[in-house]
């Protein structure tokens, strides 16, 4: 109850400040739209849409891209992380590469992806994939290397072959950290989706924001940001739920 009250209070306080700043008219509405204008935009876009698509359409398309890119990224990240953690030679060769990709800003390689893959869905999904993969790979690799040898030895004593160990022991032991990596990866995919939708991004929340920016429709921009943030928050809460469900022993073993 207290936590809910606290959060609600925080949101209300921020809204209050925003409203006060907008009402003071220090800056014109093109810079700081009023909460009321943004709210109206939210209703209008939900009903009549923007650039021919309703808000729900924009959001769903973006979420679909995030989901697809994250899923590919997570799957590849787990495989790469396992290999990085288990095979020293692989780590020596590809470890620096993963770090290299991880430090690149997504926009930097997006141009390259567009040259290679065109301007439709493939470069967008590829961008999200490249962005989401490293956090999972790094988390998985670290977790794999951190598995206590007693667990591996116990399993070997119980008849598990060297090929069985990664699946029967290493991955399940690493699961708590892998899931932390997944949360980070989905977050990164979220922050990247706007970049991915800068080119031919309508429908899509990022595309909508980009489009609105061109016509100085600041209320739409702010509304889009809020929608992205709120949906990201909701997804993270879902992921936390999933974490509790899948690794109830976290912090207790």
């Amino acid at each position: 109850m207290r936590a809910v009250a606290l959060r609600l209070g925080g949101v209300l306080a921020l809204l209050g400040i925003w409203w006060a700043v907008a009402a003071a008219q220090i800056w014109p509405p093109v810079f700081v739209p009023t909460p009321a204008a943004v709210w109206e935009q939210l209703l209008k876009t939900s009903v009549t849409g923007y650039s021919g698509y309703s808000l729900a359409d924009h959001l769903l398309v973006s979420l679909g891209r995030i989901l697809l890119g994250s899923l590919y990224g997570i799957a590849a990240g787990i495989v790469v992380g396992l290999a990085l953690g288990l095979v020293p030679a692989f780590r020596a060769v590809f470890g620096p590469l993963v770090t290299f990709v991880r430090t690149l800003p997504p926009l930097a390689y997006f141009s390259l992806l567009i040259i290679w893959l065109g301007i439709d869905e493939p470069p967008k999904i590829a961008l999200l994939f490249v962005a989401a993969m490293p956090p999972v790979a790094v988390a998985t690799a670290e977790a794999v290397r951190g598995v206590h040898e007693d667990y591996l030895n116990a399993a070997r004593s119980l008849g598990v072959s060297p090929w069985g160990l990664p699946f029967l022991v290493v991955l399940p032991s690493a699961l708590p950290e892998v899931l932390v990596g997944v949360r980070v990866a989905v977050g990164v995919a979220y922050t990247t989706v706007v970049a991915a939708e800068t080119v031919n991004g309508v429908p899509g929340i990022g595309g909508m924001i980009r489009d609105a920016q061109r016509y100085n429709q600041t209320d739409v921009v702010v509304m889009g940001l809020l929608v992205i943030g709120a949906s990201g928050l909701a997804i993270d809460l879902l992921l936390i739920r999933l974490q509790r469900l899948l690794v109830p022993w976290r912090g207790k073993a």
Partner: protein
């Protein structure tokens, strides 16, 4: 042909890195069905000795044989109980115990039997983190017993438990050993525990570990072992 449950070490040395001589020239022959209790000061190489027999590590010198064959790696003929329970946290107690017999036909009946043996029948569905320390250790023992290893290796399995639980588990272990007739290598810090459980007691010296006393169970063993342990520590 030596029995598959016999253990023999010949001139075994183990050096970690260049300088840490953990074991130095260990000669030891263990007959099937013996309950060998090993005591010695901290850091003298007791865990190292068990790890060698388990096949988790190889000696830098000498030879470790189980059932007459040189040890090439771990195997279900040797069950290991670690100082920490080391149960797999993602599996229920039942599935932990079943881990070593995943593909055996009579698995479920065997698991039920083992859980009864260690008094955990009611905890079968729980996850390890939902158990007390003593219950976890009992589950770990059941897990090690599942593939019916001829040899049981136990590294201070009761060290972290309170006195009452420890005594109960000692009784249980003795009962299990009497029922199954396994060969047991049991490492402990406690002279009382060694004398209570062991049919044979080994005392190791401080690093580099050597065997300084090797006696079968007999009257006055407690005194003799206590004296030897005290001397080994200096």
């Amino acid at each position: 042909m030596p029995s598959p449950d016999s253990v023999a070490l010949k001139g075994v040395t183990l050096t970690y890195g260049r300088k840490v001589h953990a074991l130095d020239g260990i000669d030891l022959a263990i007959e099937p069905g013996e309950f060998v209790a090993i005591v010695g000061p901290s850091g003298c190489g007791k865990s190292t000795l068990l790890r060698l027999v388990a096949g988790f590590a190889r000696p830098t010198g000498g030879e470790v044989r189980v059932g007459g064959e040189p040890v090439a790696g771990p195997g279900p003929d040797r069950g290991m109980v670690f100082q920490q329970p080391r149960l797999f946290p993602w599996l229920s107690v039942r599935r932990n115990v079943a881990f070593g017999i995943r593909r055996h036909p009579g698995r479920d009946a065997r698991v039920a039997e083992l859980l009864d043996l260690v008094g955990l029948a009611d905890a079968a569905r729980l996850r390890p983190y939902e158990l007390s320390g003593g219950m976890q250790q009992r589950a770990a023992i059941a897990r090690a017993l599942a593939p019916d290893p001829g040899i049981l290796l136990m590294d201070e399995p009761f060290a972290a438990l309170d006195a009452l639980t420890r005594e109960r588990l000692q009784e249980e272990l003795r009962r299990i050993w009497q029922q199954t007739g396994k060969t047991v290598l049991f490492v402990t810090h406690s002279v009382d525990e060694a004398v209570f459980l062991g049919t044979r007691v080994l005392v190791m010296s401080k690093r580099p570990g050597r065997i300084v006393l090797d006696l079968p169970h007999q009257p006055d063993l407690r005194e003799t072992v206590s004296t030897a342990v005290r001397q080994a520590a200096v």
